[in-house]
Amino acid sequence: MSEERSGASILVESLVRQGVEYVFGYPGGAVLPIYDALFADTRIRHILVRHEAGAAHAAEGYARSTGKPGVVLVTSGPGATNAVTGIADAFMDSIPMIVITGQVATGLIGSDAFQEADTVGITRHCTKHNYLVKDPSDLAATIDEAFQIATQGRPGPVVIDIPKDVQVAVANYSEGAPQRVNRYTPTLRGTDKDIARAIELLANARAPIFYTGGGVINSGPRATELLRELQAKTGAPVTSTLMGLGAFPADHADWLGMLGMHGTYEANMAMNKADLMVCIGARFDDRVTGRLDAFAPNSTKIHIDIDRASFNKTVAVDLPILGDCTLVLEQLLAAWGDRKAQDLTEWKARINGWRARQSLAYPANKQAIMPQLAIERLYELTKQRNPVIATEVGQHQMWAAQYFPFFAPNKWLTSGGLGTMGYGLPAAIGAQLGNPDSLVIDIAGDASIQMNIQELGTATQYRLPVKVFVLNNEWMGMVRQWQELTYESRYSESYSDSLPDFVKLAEAYGWKGIRIEDESQLDAGIQAMIDHPGPVIVDCLVHKEANCFPMIPSGAAHTDMILYGDNVAGTMDDEAKALV
């Protein structure tokens, strides 16, 4: 059955057809017809954010914690440009997202009309694909393809720019799947030859390591189970990138912890000394590899990835396997059959030697709360609730990654690739909507939290009981740390001056505010946060000069880590300064 409907109405019907529950958005002139079509429509719930960046990050948090695509609706011009940071963030971290932007009427495009911006041009290189829809009869098929592109293959954000006249004009609309050519068919399975070769390498390795990433999480919970099965069969130790935390249980005997710049000593040493590296859904990011010419020099490298462009981008690999993590892991398990694992006793003994360095053992302090301790207590007191953790970006993010253990996928929301301060609070809001019964906590820093602080109002409006746990050290801590390490402690503009009173700020937004000033208040403060049924900000005053270690300094190799207790203050040469 076909009937004439407005573009705005076709859009709403198409979103409903895709199973969209929530749209994160902010109205404006160029999307008024769409907002009118949404008015009183109970099938889609619109979440009104306070800034479009918040909408994009909330959609990311929703997507990352549920596995479903996040949907954003913003107006033209500043609405779209404000969302760009979140779009770029989703692009870097492969988060499925649909962003609908209003545009000035087709006749006005290019005339510098009010609130006009070249949204398709601006987002061209931070989207997986984007569209400018010029005819309402193209809308249904475009939206259908956009969801396919956003969610299949390597996930990512897709922008659909819809001029205002296209929202108003009518076209034929029929229910059911729109007719269109399928032009996107990512390769999902590895070739038998590659699988056989991978099994041969795995079966013969004496010092293998699994290096897993966000791709395992993106591939779905099944990939996580298969990873654990393959690990059990082969016995190889596992490390993960920041984005991959939760794919492998943090209490497992073969878990090495996170690798990379702030990874554990054992993870980085094992990466360096392995004879076989199996990279699954990770991309050899510079924060992971350290100095490239010293990266894992003696290993054969297998790289499983759904994006061919990830192969050999920074690190040359011996066996690239193009495919989806779930399917390739299934293939590997089938091909492994009932082989016996190699005796890895010697390799594990070396690893235990590195573990004995206890690289995460931080110095105790009687005067101030160590931020690492605050995270450890947060974990101990919340673990029964199996919480979802979001973070902002900086020292607190790394401490959360190091000291908050994860056991399941989709519980850890962080801005990895783009490193976007201000991600955590809106991401927590999106995650809370997607997981209404979960305890959702944004672990934040005093500087980062201010970047999207306006979203406190969003949580209040929708009665979302999100918790914000601020590690307040009155510094942009990671900047201060780098200045201490590489610029002889010239703290150029890294002090968080004129901080607000976070407790009063919480109260002003209708939140509960709790301040923790002393270690003796730590557990009670965290417990009060958990017990309060509504949203809470905890302002946890921590040691002001605590640094985040271990650390691979700029331009160094995995084997040149700085550990707690090393004398680190100083400077470094220009090559190293420029590298990262």
């Binding site: 041009g121 290189h125 997986k128 592109i149 032009r183 462009a309 220009d574």
Partner: protein, 172 residues
């Protein structure tokens, strides 16, 4: 003191078939600038009856690993159907068209015309003191012709950039 280092580069000719949709050329050209790749020449025209598909030829240069990345990054774009690296794929032909305006009288003018015959360039416009030559060939031939004309009163050159195709009976 730190200096910026350059890597050795090789020249490659890529043909890219794409959906002929708005913004595709900007997307491809922008990919090159965004990722720091080089474009030496770029040509584009639609090649199907219904104008649905275009063929783009890009001449680029870079280290082998970068060329491989360019190939993979292009294939990742949704409207891109197929990318062929002609240089990698083997025996192929390359052609370019140039318009070359030369001004002169007397011996120089006669010599220009004589050289044009040697190069099988066509005269497509003339006045008593000028010619416009049309010349096709591989880029090296055009370079040589233009260099000769420079001595004989070269005024202006327009070049299309390279189009290329695999030799033999099959489509690439």
């Amino acid at each position: 003191m730190m200096k910026i280092k350059q890597q050795a580069a090789e020249r490659h000719v890529l043909t890219i078939t794409v959906d002929n949709e708005a913004g595709i050329l900007a997307k491809i050209a922008g990919l090159f600038t965004a990722r720091g790749y080089n474009i030496d020449s770029l040509t584009v025209a639609d090649i199907t009856e219904n104008h649905a598909v275009s063929r783009i030829t890009i001449v680029t240069h870079g280290p082998p690993a970068v060329i491989d990345q360019i190939h993979a990054q292009l294939e990742r774009l949704v409207p891109v159907h197929k990318v062929i690296d002609l240089t990698e794929a083997g025996d192929h032909v390359e052609r370019e068209l140039a318009l070359v305006k030369v001004k002169g009288t007397g011996d120089a003018r006669v010599e220009a015309l004589r050289l044009a015959e040697v190069f099988r360039a066509k005269v497509i416009d003339t006045t008593t003191s000028s010619f416009v030559f049309e010349l096709t060939g591989d880029p090296g031939k055009i370079d040589r012709f233009v260099a000769l004309m420079r001595e004989l009163g070269l005024v202006e050159v327009g070049r299309t950039g390279v189009v290329g195709m695999m030799r033999g009976a099959e489509a690439a």
